[in-house]
């Protein structure tokens, strides 16, 4: 990857660490988020992604390292002097103000004349399709509506970077998918940088230009969604982004003769048939026993015990009849093409 010139870098972390006592919440993290990018920070809870967001917002200060926002050192700058705005996980709307006052708040505290504030706040509410709701209190709104108010409240300030901390986490699936689409549209329309924290890998993959995968305070991989899925560098990424079978080095030794762990996606594992004979060198064959079958509508997920490892495979319910599906404790022959395997860095998983 070529170095991005400073002018186009919205947020840059240089070897940033944040320690709480002995706990390294963020450990030696370096990232550069380009201006206008939809950048996601993905990881399980406690992996340091939210702490990174809070470091950008200014709610936390780094223990070591430098954070630059548009080339300007941000460490030591309070939140109210940063050109970033945050959409909080639980929205953090002011309960004692009505919706319009909530949205106008950022403009009011900057000393902009009252009529101008309310005019712009009303426009912002229109943008999120809540023009009629200005007089209501946040407590009278549904989760999805509060989410939009929080978005309008941040965007009315015209931030150069919008920080989103698991903003869709509290919404139900349908609403979440709709909001994902709206956020994506909004990002295209505004052209500003979005930094998006989520633990939902499908959300990160579908929305982002680039994704940083966090694990235990460190970044495992920063890449485009396609590259993360197709070419995970570590077993953690392979496992966390999509479902994948990570084959440890001991088993890899038996199968490939090489002491290097690899991953294979469930959809690339096939039921072993006579199509493949021993002469084909690019095929890996294993035998195992079915432990569990889960019905998922269009597909069924089959869990097979091979040696001391579990392999997941996905079978199509449209291609196979119920009778053709394997049964629990049935012996199965599985196979996959070597070309589908992704070699991982040799490390303890």
């Amino acid at each position: 990857m070529t170095a991005i010139p400073d002018v186009f870098t919205a947020v840059e972390f240089s070897i940033v660490s944040k320690h709480y006592g002995d706990v390294r919440a963020v450990d030696n993290v370096s990232i550069a988020v380009a201006e206008g990018e939809f950048f996601s920070m993905l990881g399980p809870s406690g992996s340091g992604k939210t702490t990174c967001l809070r470091l950008i917002a200014g709610f936390e200060q780094p223990s070591i390292g430098s954070i630059k926002i548009f080339g300007k050192e941000a460490a030591g700058t309070p939140p109210y002097e940063r050109e970033v705005n945050t959409v909080f996980q639980d929205y953090a709307l002011f309960p004692h103000m009505n919706v319009l006052d909530n949205v106008a708040y950022g403009l009011r505290v900057k000393g902009i004349a009252k009529p101008e504030c309310y005019k712009r706040a009303e426009q912002a509410l229109e943008q999120v399709a809540l023009a009629e709701y200005g007089k209501r209190k946040p407590g009278e709104l549904s989760g999805g509506q509060r989410q939009r108010v929080a978005l309008a409240r941040a965007l009315v300030n015209k931030p150069r970077v919008l920080l989103l901390d698991e903003p869709l986490g509290a919404l139900d699936l349908k609403l979440r998918e709709q909001m994902q689409l709206e956020l994506k549209t909004l990002h295209k329309k505004l052209g500003i940088t979005f930094i998006y924290v989520t633990h939902d890998q499908s959300e990160a993959l579908s929305m982002s230009d680039r994704v940083a995968v966090f694990n235990r305070g460190k970044i495992e991989q920063v890449d485009t969604p396609r590259n993360l899925y197709m070419h995970p560098k570590t077993s953690f990424v392979a496992d966390f982004v999509g479902t994948s079978n990570v084959i440890n080095s001991a088993m890899a030794q038996q199968l490939t003769g090489q002491n290097q762990p690899f991953s294979i996606r469930p959809e690339h594992i096939k039921l072993g048939t006579n199509e493949f004979n021993d002469k084909q060198n690019d095929i890996i064959k294993v035998a195992g026993e079915v432990v569990d079958i889960q019905y998922h509508g269009a597909t069924s997920k089959v869990e097979v015990s091979v040696g001391n490892q579990m392999l997941f495979m996905v079978l199509s319910n449209t291609e196979l009849s119920e009778a053709e599906l394997p049964k629990i404790s049935q012996r199965l022959n599985l196979c996959w093409s070597k070309s589908r395997m992704v070699m991982l860095e040799n490390q303890a998983s």
């Binding site: 709610f59 945050t86 709307l93 309960p95 708040y105 950022g106 505290v109 941040a154």
Partner: protein
């Protein structure tokens, strides 16, 4: 169906049957739950208050020193006599001053307890705030007469710091000062503030505890400087707690009759006036009329607080 449920119960012990009956008949449960406290509250608590208010309309014959049942508004009219009205004003001024002082001192302590205190520190602060309440109120007030006396520790400190000149200047200010600290309004104010402080800290602390930290962060994130966050977000959300605390300090000062007797200049307070009228004079109707004054003042105070939107955040 009904019979089978009852049959199922017959084999069970009485306690279980009783519980199940209560479960099925919610009204019976509420009746048993509320009857004792409502009896106490209605008869003993409100009943005696209304009996007192009723007596404020009785007639007191100042010549025979006897109370008769003839109803009159004379007691209320006499509240506005110069001497009586003076008592009300004096008490009200002190109550307002004490309320403001306790709020100003209490808020930072409550804020520290909530935002910065670790669990252990919080425990320490709770005990430290409430510790004075474990000792008798009268003993503490007497202790303050010793502290504030000219041979007391406060004078000793002030002398050793070379500030006795400054103290004399302060004591010469009319309405605040006096001959000594122990006989000045300043001394009385200090003791009132000391005694009622916990009643202000605890409600404010409870209110602060309910304000999520992320609201303050959201405010800063939107560009508000700390002073703006305090005025526009924190204070409005905590104000019900401040009002609750101030009702305590305000009404406790309005009704107190011990501190004005022991510390500060002569001149009656509402509490001492009631004490005198009821005790040595035997003018129960006027004492009762005086009791209505704090109730009225607090009512006015609450409606003013409501008008400023103090309870909107509740």
């Amino acid at each position: 169906m009904q019979s089978s449920i009852i049959n199922a119960d017959t084999s069970k012990p009485f306690g279980r049957k009783f519980s199940n009956t209560l479960y099925r008949k919610n009204n019976l449960f509420l009746f048993l739950l509320l009857t004792p406290p409502l009896l106490w509250f209605g008869v003993v608590y409100l009943g005696s208050l209304f009996a007192l208010l009723w007596q404020s309309f009785y007639t007191f014959d100042s010549f025979s020193m006897a109370v008769s049942n003839d109803l009159t508004l004379e007691n209320y009219r006499s509240l506005f006599d110069a001497t009586n009205f003076d008592i009300i004003l004096r008490t009200l001024t002190m109550a307002v001053a004490v309320t403001l002082a306790t709020a100003l001192i209490g808020f930072p302590i409550a804020y520290y307890m909530t935002r910065y205190g670790s669990r252990a520190e919080k425990g320490f602060f709770y005990i430290a705030v409430m510790l004075p309440m474990w000792a008798s109120y009268i003993v503490k007030t007497y202790a303050w007469t010793v502290i504030l006396s000219q041979q007391g520790i406060l004078y000793w400190c002030i002398n050793h710091l070379g500030l006795s000149g400054a103290l004399n200047h302060v004591l010469q200010i009319p309405a605040i000062g006096g001959n000594t600290l122990a006989t000045s309004n300043l001394g009385r104010f200090i003791v009132f503030t000391y005694i009622w402080l916990p009643f202000m800290i605890l409600p404010i602390q409870a209110a602060l505890e309910r304000v999520p930290t992320n609201l303050l962060q959201a405010s800063a994130d939107l560009g508000a400087k700390p002073a703006q966050t305090f005025r526009r977000v924190l204070l409005p959300l905590v104000f019900p707690g401040v009002v609750a605390g101030s009702i305590f300090t305000f009404s406790l000062t309005l009704g107190d009759y011990i501190i004005p007797q022991l510390i500060g200049p002569s001149g009656l307070y509402i509490g001492t006036m009631v004490y005198t009228m009821q005790g040595s004079v035997g003018n129960m109707p006027l004492a009762a009329a005086f009791t209505v004054v704090p109730i009225t003042l607090i009512f006015i105070y609450l409606s003013l607080a409501k008008r400023t939107g103090a309870f909107d955040a509740l």
